[in-house]
Assembly symmetry: C5
Amino acid sequence: MRKSIGLKRRNRPSQSVKTTLPPGSPVFIGEKRVEKIRIDIIDYNENSIKECRDADLKECERLAKGQTVTWINVIGIHDPGIIEGIGSIFNLHPLTIEDIVNTNQRPKMEEFPDYLFIVLKMSTYNDETNNLEMEHVSLILGDNFVISFQEEEGDVFEPVRQRLRSSKGRIRKLKSDYLAYALMDAVVDHYFVAVERMGDWIEEVDDRIVAEPKQEDIQEIHRLKKNILILRKAVWPLREEIGSLEKSASHLIHPETRLFLRDLYDHTIQVIDITETFRDLVGGMHDTYLSGISNRMNEIMKVLTIFSTIFIPLTFIAGVYGTNFDNIPELHFKYGYFAMLGLMLIVALLMLRFFKRRGWI
Amino acid sequence: MRKSIGLKRRNRPSQSVKTTLPPGSPVFIGEKRVEKIRIDIIDYNENSIKECRDADLKECERLAKGQTVTWINVIGIHDPGIIEGIGSIFNLHPLTIEDIVNTNQRPKMEEFPDYLFIVLKMSTYNDETNNLEMEHVSLILGDNFVISFQEEEGDVFEPVRQRLRSSKGRIRKLKSDYLAYALMDAVVDHYFVAVERMGDWIEEVDDRIVAEPKQEDIQEIHRLKKNILILRKAVWPLREEIGSLEKSASHLIHPETRLFLRDLYDHTIQVIDITETFRDLVGGMHDTYLSGISNRMNEIMKVLTIFSTIFIPLTFIAGVYGTNFDNIPELHFKYGYFAMLGLMLIVALLMLRFFKRRGWI
Amino acid sequence: MRKSIGLKRRNRPSQSVKTTLPPGSPVFIGEKRVEKIRIDIIDYNENSIKECRDADLKECERLAKGQTVTWINVIGIHDPGIIEGIGSIFNLHPLTIEDIVNTNQRPKMEEFPDYLFIVLKMSTYNDETNNLEMEHVSLILGDNFVISFQEEEGDVFEPVRQRLRSSKGRIRKLKSDYLAYALMDAVVDHYFVAVERMGDWIEEVDDRIVAEPKQEDIQEIHRLKKNILILRKAVWPLREEIGSLEKSASHLIHPETRLFLRDLYDHTIQVIDITETFRDLVGGMHDTYLSGISNRMNEIMKVLTIFSTIFIPLTFIAGVYGTNFDNIPELHFKYGYFAMLGLMLIVALLMLRFFKRRGWI
Amino acid sequence: MRKSIGLKRRNRPSQSVKTTLPPGSPVFIGEKRVEKIRIDIIDYNENSIKECRDADLKECERLAKGQTVTWINVIGIHDPGIIEGIGSIFNLHPLTIEDIVNTNQRPKMEEFPDYLFIVLKMSTYNDETNNLEMEHVSLILGDNFVISFQEEEGDVFEPVRQRLRSSKGRIRKLKSDYLAYALMDAVVDHYFVAVERMGDWIEEVDDRIVAEPKQEDIQEIHRLKKNILILRKAVWPLREEIGSLEKSASHLIHPETRLFLRDLYDHTIQVIDITETFRDLVGGMHDTYLSGISNRMNEIMKVLTIFSTIFIPLTFIAGVYGTNFDNIPELHFKYGYFAMLGLMLIVALLMLRFFKRRGWI
Amino acid sequence: MRKSIGLKRRNRPSQSVKTTLPPGSPVFIGEKRVEKIRIDIIDYNENSIKECRDADLKECERLAKGQTVTWINVIGIHDPGIIEGIGSIFNLHPLTIEDIVNTNQRPKMEEFPDYLFIVLKMSTYNDETNNLEMEHVSLILGDNFVISFQEEEGDVFEPVRQRLRSSKGRIRKLKSDYLAYALMDAVVDHYFVAVERMGDWIEEVDDRIVAEPKQEDIQEIHRLKKNILILRKAVWPLREEIGSLEKSASHLIHPETRLFLRDLYDHTIQVIDITETFRDLVGGMHDTYLSGISNRMNEIMKVLTIFSTIFIPLTFIAGVYGTNFDNIPELHFKYGYFAMLGLMLIVALLMLRFFKRRGWI
């Protein structure tokens, strides 16, 4: 869902096409982000590790059948043909394939007899556009293999690769379920980076609004709200997803991994907590903005009031002595003019005092 | 519920009539949309397919009793007599018949010993009136047959017919439960088309409001809200309906179809998600509108303020020198008049500077 | 709860009295609506029917003990003595009797060993006062008999009587549970009439507010809100009530009737749905009203602004040439006066153009 | 919580002291309301009744051990020593004693092996201060005895005493559980009195606001909201409390009493219902207030607008003819002055007509 | 989370670092608050007690293995090495260690085979900055030992130490589960102190706003809201945490302690109740503030209106008699000028009367 905060526009053509196709037909819904689909494989057990960049489907099949844990990472999902190829090798259900290529699919976990299917959203905070961007990620957790599908190169899985290569730690000793957990953990951990950036943005906008609200700010608040909407749509389903993964009776999840999934669940709750806090903060920001704007208007109004209210009687006095009556005694006093000016000064000072006492100045 | 956003007006007469009738009496509640009820039949198994347009009830009965899957599509529900005829052939409960002809019936799924009864709302987005229109659709899923009732010709089932005719794919091999699923899937898929159109509409209105809010826009926001209300009323019950269909213990639902129903459930959640997002967006739009309107007023107020506040002291000065005192020394200075004009200019410039420094201009 | 939207005032005296009495004491809380309590009986089985107007308690007892279904309709509940008499004949629990005569009792269903006790609110929309009025109705469903208690003559049960008399249809063949269902169905069906009237009222007010909001309208919106509150208080508990009746394990409810109760439950949900829609609509109406009022104020403000802002500099110019300086060259030009008028015209036109360009006119 | 709407101020000192004491230490938290703790006893069975005012602990012990039902009413809870004395006689858990003397304890029901512990809030509506006051009441329901603790003399239990003395009715025949129920019923019944008074207050404020909102009213609305908060805090937990009492498996609750507890539960729901209605009404009142205030401002604004807008052009015309140009032909017309006055009149009338047509006057 | 209301800024660097490490790696996330980690031990049974300040890990191990109850209090959590050392002695799961040093971890309870892991937030109300500060506290409850981790010296556990030393009371007789309860109880009791202070603050701000709202107050309300957010985040999870501890099937929790945990649960509910009340109060405060501000503006507007509206016609009259028409009869009346002044006075008085009658003055 890169490059656009428009929640659904981009995908329309395909979605409309889709309504005329049988269910289970893999139609890519989204934006093509890489030229060619690429498959990277990491195959490992406790003692050895083998990496293979740009592998072909044959290779995948051969490695996945072995006793080692095989991680097949597919970059690019816009070519349903290749995805279907992978699907037939690993015996994936047509509906699974449909969901892999549908970037609108919300996060979920589905159990199939031979594998678990996990959909996630990978978050990136784009510093230039100040937008949260979501990438569609699917995981297939099978016996001894994990297949991950992502929309484009550049991901949050690099730390997992490093840990695999460094050959130390739990990850090389445990099975494919721990690998799947590690990938999900990387995705969730990355939400923290995204929400921290958003937190900065929120604080920055908040500071600006408290100091001096501008009319443009309302649009920024609007954009913040939309980003929080996107974030909520990605993280709320996660809670149920990881919760049901932890409680799943599938033989693919070993007891040892469950503890880690519980921890992951915990992290998800934390992200949701922060998201909800953001929502409250941005909601309050709107109030602050309105108060600020109205305070500025009040300030302006007050100046007008004081000016008008002071000058109105003065101008009236001048008006009285501007009349052309034959008989206006004051006009002929020697210092009548200065007396009038003095009177005006006194009236003005009295009014200022009145305003000051009321606390209006 | 075509042609009107009025949520209940159209159906009143019949509804009132209904209160005096025994429960289970089929009274058509709605608007007559076709002249004559028409029955179309598609009868198929894996090897053969037979279509029959404008069939009679006898034909229905004969085909439904066979081993092939029979899809009976009834167009028009305004004649309770014919519907009752179908009811007696297929042994439908009186309450089922009552619900088939009541276009106010909300979506639901009911299990009867011999059949499952499913009520849906088919959505159409009317581009001319910019309104979402709902059509009442009922499905009877029995052993080897599906009966669908719709209000008028022109539906979202055409792709299903195409797939049946093309004789390829899952649909010809599986039983009547898959056909019912396919019909429901067509309805739900069509919601995506409707929400995409609404999404466009929302974005268009949003853009317009952000650029320059007009007084008419509040009525458009009002209409959007009503449409979202209609949409929510149609899709929220769907969730429970499809969920309980998936979990139903009925022998009519085969395990193979359950996976597809789970997928359908998923799509429903997605439509609900989008609907709720729309609600949030339109709610925020109202705020944006109010902010925009008030910003415009503020802009106008500011101009008034600055004008008034600048001219008030100037007019006062002119007033002072318009008085008719005998002794006003300044009046007799040679360049008194020009000095006054200069003084006015200076006062005006000082005030402009004051406003500029405060950021009011 | 006739004739008053005041939610609790009318019943105070009795309620205060009540606090000093033991629980289970039947104290009539409400407004006396008929002079004398009257008992009507309809006794029927599949073959015969017997009606008895203004029966006495003896008669009730005799008929209720028979094998025929007996419907005892009690009109007026303000005399606890008579109600207690009925209670002792049918062995009703003191708490049941207390609830029958307490018109504040909310809808509920209670199972007692020998009978089911059902409390309902019968709705009437008073066209004159534009208020929704609720009447307290209680049903006792026993073996072979149903006792209904209502506050005054004139009810929604007439269609049920007609069906009983016409001797056709399900109602004469089935047991007392179906009769109780039929009575409840009549009550719920009547809600549809009430909500339709309210719907008209809401649309009428809505149209008026959209066209031209007046200050009185806020009070009408207020009244609408109160009526919706009353409606919600009557229909929300209905949902739980009918739901638990349907699921009740009581031997008094036959399987055949359960299907009808499920249908009734469905209708209740529909009424609740409409009520909630009303709430949303009336909530939105308030926003529309405020927008409308503020738009009118804005319109007025704009006229003021334009008038002031145009005349302020013109008046200033006149002021300048009204000063009495000895040396104001322009004053002595032959067409100075007309030049000034021309200048004023130009200034006014320039300002009008400025306003037009900004879209303020 | 008498005499103060401040939700927590009064109790601070003790609460702070408490944090340094072990859990289960009885520290009186609240305001001392009586001088000396007094114990009243009523001991009864079906045939005899014995009352004992200002009894000592010995007496309590002796009577409680007998086969008669003993009601020990303790007035005043500020002396932990005496409460601990009672606790040791009846073998109360230290945490129970802590809760008895802590007036901040919220309503709850706790089962202990030998007794049930029930905390309630007794409501009084103070007519002078227009505040709802809550008194902390605890009940210990044991085998053959009930101990009630209250903060001060004057309570809602008088009707229960009357019924005990009058020796008729259920209460003398049944066991201690019915007595406990009767006391709880008295407390809940009294809520109706309190909410009726609040209802009057709300209606009175509402009427006043609809007629003519004043600035002081916002503080009254504020106070109403705080009172409703206090009421909600007292009645919401009651629901769970009485519900779990009804469903409790304790041998202390006899089946006969359960029906009465169900009724009490029902009454509690009714109080909650009214409270929530109050909340809605008071929330709406705030809107009405704001509308009213803004309508008044609008009225004032309109007068200003019409005045200003009518006089602005008139003053301008006068200004034009006040200029000192040598050549202003109109000035020398014989009826020039009257023509000007006529012109002014026409302008004023035209403007009035314009305003009238727009509906501004 | 000391010294900052910024909800996440402070911890960013470490959090970002963390995303590249394997799960279960203890990375200190927070602010270093003490120089050196210090370990204090209290070892006791019913008869003896031994305290040991600044103990080393060896000592810990030796004491924890004994039959006495050992309380190991670790002050400072910024050095993962030492925490891991403790972890390996007591066989703590890597995820537990990760959570101990992550000050962002929300309150939770986790059961592990050998121990229970409890996360809490210790609240301190900073009187200088008027901010609520939270300190991260973790408890490990094992067989015969409790380990507590806190961020800095100075805690709420002092009363527990006193009670241990004084050798009387339950605490020395019971096991480690009661000690853990006592520590949690100390933390929860301290929330009462914090909410009381906040209550004072709220009342103080409320009083100020009711008396005379200032523009700065909106920022104070904003800060109050943020503090309540922090409080809610700390106390809401507590409810679930203590609830599941009470219901836990772990052998580490003895039945005797469960009663105390139920009481603790109760206190937690009370804190949550107060927090929610605060939220309502502060929400209402915002309304009061806005009303107050707008009332002040209205007051100012009214003065302007009355001034303008009174002087506008007077100035107009003066303007009329300032015109230079040759023939203005009034000008030549002897007392014309005084008549004009009289007329002006009458006009002014009439208008004042008009305003008074309308209640505007």
